[in-house]
Symmetry: C2
Subunit: 500 residues, 2 copies
């Protein structure tokens, strides 16, 4: 679907809407309604199950989203977390530099100083998007963090977290004590972060408040985590930086073992494959819409030794969009916070080694993936609109209908309650025809519907059975109501990575 | 336990620690570690199950936590969300007025203007807590909201939400369309809110960032929600405002029907009872530690027609502390936002009535209750320390131990994985003696432990069975491992209100 059509559908069904909608909304902020809230929570659970569930030494924490200034000074955000802009001296409009320079610098302007950006503007004779003038200038960079100074006089400087990762780095020393004092140690956060975006846009893709799911794996580079094992033949869709720089822009499907043979560390490729399997096998993005875009030395942040962004092709946004990434950050983060805090963050390995652990970071944008799920899995199928979410992501797992409300309501309501009591998200619906009820559930992504009818409540051979209808096949079968929980529950649990 | 002892235990076990601990912490901010995060999530789920699960017309949403200025202007927070302070003209220290005046005004200073507070200071000859001077003054009130202006020039004024309730009021019009267009309609939020507290203290009781769980029930006052039914004889521990004003400060146990006979609306009493049952029967706070403290006309905010604060006696904080409340807010909120936004928020009832719905608000402080659970349920039992959490709140539901690691590890690890795959939070532990493993699980609140031993892996009559040990009784029994899921799962689901 096109962006407007998809957004209108999600808004009408109460997946999401603009924050403070009755006041005309607020740029870059959205509220999730009942279906969106449930989908978001299940998406988060699936991520936790797949990534945090990979090791008993990986832990989930929930940090506060405000940190004192010393933290963002040490992390470099105070100095570098900027979004350069361009102002027009003729019409006084202001724009994000990256947006204005999209055509002349398609790989972005990360790392360029204002003077260098001004040089790009001059050399390409870039014009103001608003009035067409070439009298453009690049002011001193503007920090994207929100500051929330504490106290009456607001003298204690503090900031809303711009990324969850910092909270995990801060927690490392405590978690070393709380855990087994062993590496690798994983610390995951699913939490809100905040950025004062100059130009929020593309609905859930550039927000001022959004949810990241990130796992930081602290490890000893001499014993890095992850071996390909049986997954060595997995074909990884990569767009290598070197090839791109040679002008060869197409995706290659490269077996994991060849990526290792070509020089990427095995632990790193292992995590690319793990992320690929999550996107393809757990979220069910079609394989051909996924690619791993390697950032070159010049494109990635200087502390990242390796960076592949996971991108998914979204029709509504007209291109591949980043939905996650794998960053090998080395020892940069713990070293900076050791310097900033004055606390030794090195750990003992065996009897005579101490080291500052390296960090492998797995990032995942929860809001972006929620949108991408809708983009990829929600669409027309003949005369119906179907959201083909995996059962374990569906906001409502089972729709429960009485065929005739006044005759079958009591049994259908009791069945709904039984399912809910067993932890299965069920929803009772008696409004309008069965066909219309199916249509509503299809649109909401509900994988199963059960109908209570005369057979269920009668004394005949169908006594106690209900019609179970599948969203995807539209097939119907007769099933004893008492067996529904045992039959449906396994499909409703998010996959775990064990056995990989 | 005393506050310091309890806090030290929770910190050591990784329930929580100060944010940015390696930088010396940040006042009024805490991070939840693995056990705290799991407990917090389960507590939130229990709240949702009990309150949102009460009606299919009650919905959970997840709003952004930033709102434009027009919202907090309409809600009154821009003008009134203040925490008066007192400064000392001699030593220049600053204090929360409520704290300094605790002894002379035990019921607080809500609603007093700075001049009135200054009058209280003069008339009681209050002294500076720091230097003892009586040269105290009361400056203009200080707003507790954090402002996060948007954009390069920060000209779009916006604020971090000071309470989740406002997000539900903003969502009413959209949810009316998304839902059944019927009253009562419930909108719940479990979310973070932010307050620039002058003096954060008492660990999780006065925070700068904290989580509220709030349900706003929009209803027609002619058909209010809730009937006592079979709960009319429930004894409600109340401290009525009128009695307090007469100097009779003790709690009475009053049957619900008598509260109604005495003039409280039945729907209101019904919700007091529902909250009482949650605190007593779901969270398992001892009945004698719970009371409902009625705020008088003078004590409650002017828009609250009725307010009872639910308070629980906490040993660590040395007194009854508010952990939730039931507010009858009338039509104040929707009327203010209708005026502020210019949007008609009245709805049709039948063919010829329109009304602005009234609001019944159920509030619940997630962090405060997490602390209170630890205060009330975590303690010494002979020579062990036990956290007697209900099974459905326990961070770890089942500890799985091999009796002898090298002999029973494989079977115990496989059993752990089976439990996890069935959605049961299980944790494998092979470190040190079985007794020490029980002790660690007791402290973490784990209700069940299973041990794999020679009988499990042998060919004898105990083949396939494990020892199941109960935290509370310390009793042990032999159970087939294959039956564990079916046996434990029902105790791990939070109670639902159906059948009440």
């Amino acid at each position: 679907m096109k962006l407007d059509e998809l957004y209108a559908l999600l808004r009408r069904r109460g997946f999401l809407w603009p924050t403070a909608e009755i006041y005309g909304g607020a740029q870059g902020l959205y509220d999730y309604g009942p279906l969106g809230t449930a989908l978001k929570r299940r998406l988060e659970e699936a991520w936790v199950s797949w990534f945090v569930g990979r090791s008993p030494d990986y832990y989930r924490i929930e940090p506060a989203e405000i940190v004192p200034e010393a933290v963002v000074r040490a992390s470099g955000h105070l100095e570098n977390f900027t979004d350069p802009e361009i102002t027009c001296d003729a019409c006084h409009a202001t724009f994000r530099a990256e947006t204005v320079l999209e055509k002349v610098r398609p790989n972005g302007i990360d790392g360029l100083a204002p003077a260098q950006i001004e040089e790009v503007v001059r050399s390409h004779q870039v014009r103001c998007p608003s009035c067409g003038s070439t009298a453009l200038s690049v002011p001193a960079a503007f920090n994207l963090m929100f500051d929330v100074p504490f106290g009456v006089a607001r003298t204690e400087r503090a900031y809303l977290l711009p990324e969850t990762a910092q909270a995990s780095y801060l927690a490392f020393a405590r978690m070393w004590e709380v855990g087994r004092k062993a590496l690798p140690l994983g610390i995951a956060v699913v939490g809100r972060v905040y950025r004062n975006e100059i130009a929020p846009r593309q609905v859930l893709f550039r927000l001022r408040s959004f949810t990241q799911a990130e796992l930081q794996i602290f490890f000893d580079p001499e014993e890095p985590p992850g071996h390909l094992g049986s997954l060595a033949d997995e074909k990884v869709p990569v767009l290598r930086a070197e090839r791109r720089e040679r002008g060869e822009g197409s995706v290659e499907l490269v077996p994991a073992r060849e990526l290792v043979a070509g020089g990427l560390p095995e632990f790193y490729v292992d995590h690319l494959v793990h992320l690929l399997r999550f996107l393809r096998d757990v979220l069910r993005y079609p394989a051909e819409r996924i690619r791993f875009f390697e950032k070159s030395d010049k494109e990635r942040a200087f502390y990242n030794r390796l960076q592949f962004d996971a991108e998914v092709y979204t029709e509504s946004l007209g291109g591949f969009k980043e939905v996650g990434a794998v960053h090998y950050r080395g020892e940069y983060d713990l070293r900076r916070h050791a310097e900033g805090s004055g606390k030794d963050l090195s750990v003992s390995r065996g009897t005579d080694r101490r080291l500052v652990p390296h960090v492998l970071e797995l990032t995942f944008g929860v809001d972006r993936n929620l949108w991408t799920l809708a983009d990829v899995l929600l669409g027309r199928d003949g005369d119906r609109t179907v959201f083909r979410l995996p059962a374990y992501l569906a906001p409502v797992a089972v729709g429960v209908f009485p065929l005739i409300a006044k005759e079958h309501r009591a049994v259908a309501e009791a069945l709904t309650e039984q399912l809910l009591a067993a932890g299965i998200p069920a929803e009772y619906d008696e409004a309008s025809s069965i066909g219309k009820r199916y249509a509503r559930m299809d649109e909401a992504g509900t994988p199963f519907c059960v109908t209570v009818d005369g057979g269920t409540v009668g004394e005949g051979p169908e006594h106690g059975t209900v019609t179970l209808r599948s969203r995807d096949t539209k097939g119907q079968e007769r099933v004893p109501a008492a067996e529904l929980v045992a039959r449906l529950a396994p499909a409703l649990r998010p996959p775990r990575p064990s056995g990989s």
